[in-house]
Amino acid sequence: MNLDLSFHLDVGLGTKPKLDPDALHDLLVVGAGPAGLNAALYAVRKGLDVAILGKRRGGQLLDTSAVDNYLGLDDVDGEGLSERFQKHLSKYGVPVLDGAEVVDVLADGPHHVVVLSNGETYRSKTLIVATGSTPRKLGIPGEDRFAGKGVGYCAICDGPLFAGKDVFVAGGGNSAVQAALDLAQLSRAVTVVHRSTLRADQVFVDRLTTHPKISVLLGTRIVEVTGDAAMDGLVVEDVATGARRSMKGDGLFIEIGHLPNVGPFGKRLSLSEHGEIVADERGTTSVPGIFAAGDVTDFPYKQIVIAVGSGATAALSANEYIRRLQS
């Protein structure tokens, strides 16, 4: 049993930052993941009046165990990195509204108004949309029925519940391989199922293929999750031959990429064919004054370091935009 303490600094002090609903802010950052946090850091250092409206502080970093590819930080987990980000930002006193879900975005002359699910509204000269993405589903029979009854989306959370059991991982990217390596610590056997070839980093693939508990099944599609009260296996199909067969197992973790959380911004901003917010190399969207950063955008490669960088870009662009308005 892992008895380390993963303590958060901001725990339970009951002090919630207040945002003045009547104020006109320079910048509101929607999203509190790596892109949003870094956007706020760059903005506050430029002297902007900035606040973060975030659903979940840290974003998807919280679902990541080891982060092995963030330059200079070779021994940090997702949560540790998120804490460092927040600690750094907290030096500047940027207000962060937690659990804030933006349900609407309106134009108010040249300014923008965001409406939260609790009815609160905030006004700003600029917005940065950094709302990230959520795990994509397979969309196959049994997936929803057995959600929480074998089918999971957070391997580090639920891994201990599959100690000594047989689990599957769907997907072939870094997240899938990471999930398989995490699960293999406690599970009896882990099978990675992917419809094409592995696209994870070679260092990950090497660890995967040499792991005694992990087997890899490529060119294979999962077509159904089977079971009764709980999941008891999968039906898989060989992509080349179309041959189907059943496999027994207790759990399935789905790591097949993500869908962008465009939310209410989808109706105002141009989207890519994948439903992502179209942003240029400066983070500019189709609406003046609204910028976008991180996994919600059509930037290629969804990586922490890329989200962080795009957050900085968007903040600097927002700063320039505000200066232009004033001149």
Binding site: L3, V11, C157
Partner: protein, 214 residues
């Protein structure tokens, strides 16, 4: 083995400065109970950090009357008592280590009277719950979303004496977890029948409680 390093201890002492009144941790164990020793060690370290925190140790069998008073069904169990010694419906089954330290520390503060604010839109709904409600929140120690669910359940218990809320560490209480078909966490079980998956927002939890009543 000490669980809090120097840095963490410093931070916690600072946080415990916000404790308003005394809090007593009633810890129930049993000879040979799983993680009982680690849990005792952790609690001893915690109470040593503030004069406002106290630890009372019970054996579930020897102190059966106390166990019944606080509705202790499993061990190890941590029951938080306020300054007047009253049970406020807040329990932890299993060690609140790993990520769960983030539900345990706030619970101490809340029971001490250093209460966090609940939006007004919820307070009336919470106050209106007039029948006994039991909330179980199954967690693992490696789950970053779990403490949020536990905090909400405990907050409900604190705000309405009809509600009891407990964290259950799923790896320690395997059989109980099996009985409630726990294969993903956090899993919130209301009155043993209604199940919510994930760290659900307060309105969803209240909806489930209210639906149960009708």
């Amino acid at each position: 083995m000490k669980m809090f390093n120097e840095d963490l201890e410093k931070q916690l002492k600072e946080i415990f400065g916000a404790l308003k009144r005394d809090v007593t941790i009633a810890l129930f164990t049993e000879p040979g109970c799983l993680t009982g020793e680690e849990t005792t060690g952790l609690m001893e370290e915690v109470v040593a950090m503030s004069p406002k925190l106290h630890l009372v140790r019970y054996d579930r069998k020897v102190d059966a009357a106390k166990a019944a008073e606080y509705h202790v069904a499993h061990v190890p169990a941590i029951v938080l008592l306020d300054a007047s010694g009253a049970y406020r419906g807040i329990k932890f089954y299993g060690i609140p280590a790993g990520h769960e330290i983030n539900s345990f520390i706030p619970a101490l503060l809340e029971v001490s009277g250093a209460e966090s604010e609940v939006p007004k839109e919820f307070t009336d709904r919470i106050a209106a719950i007039a029948r006994p409600v039991d909330i179980k929140v199954f967690v693992t120690l490696s789950c970053p979303h779990c403490p949020g669910a536990v905090q909400k359940a405990h907050k409900l218990a604190l705000m309405n004496s009809n509600i009891q809320a407990e964290m259950i560490e799923a790896s320690t209480f395997e059989e109980l977890s099996r009985r409630f078909n726990v294969s993903a966490v956090p899993q919130i079980v209301i009155d043993g029948t209604k199940t919510l998956l994930g760290n659900q927002p307060m309105p969803a939890i209240l909806d489930a409680i209210e639906a149960e009543a009708s």
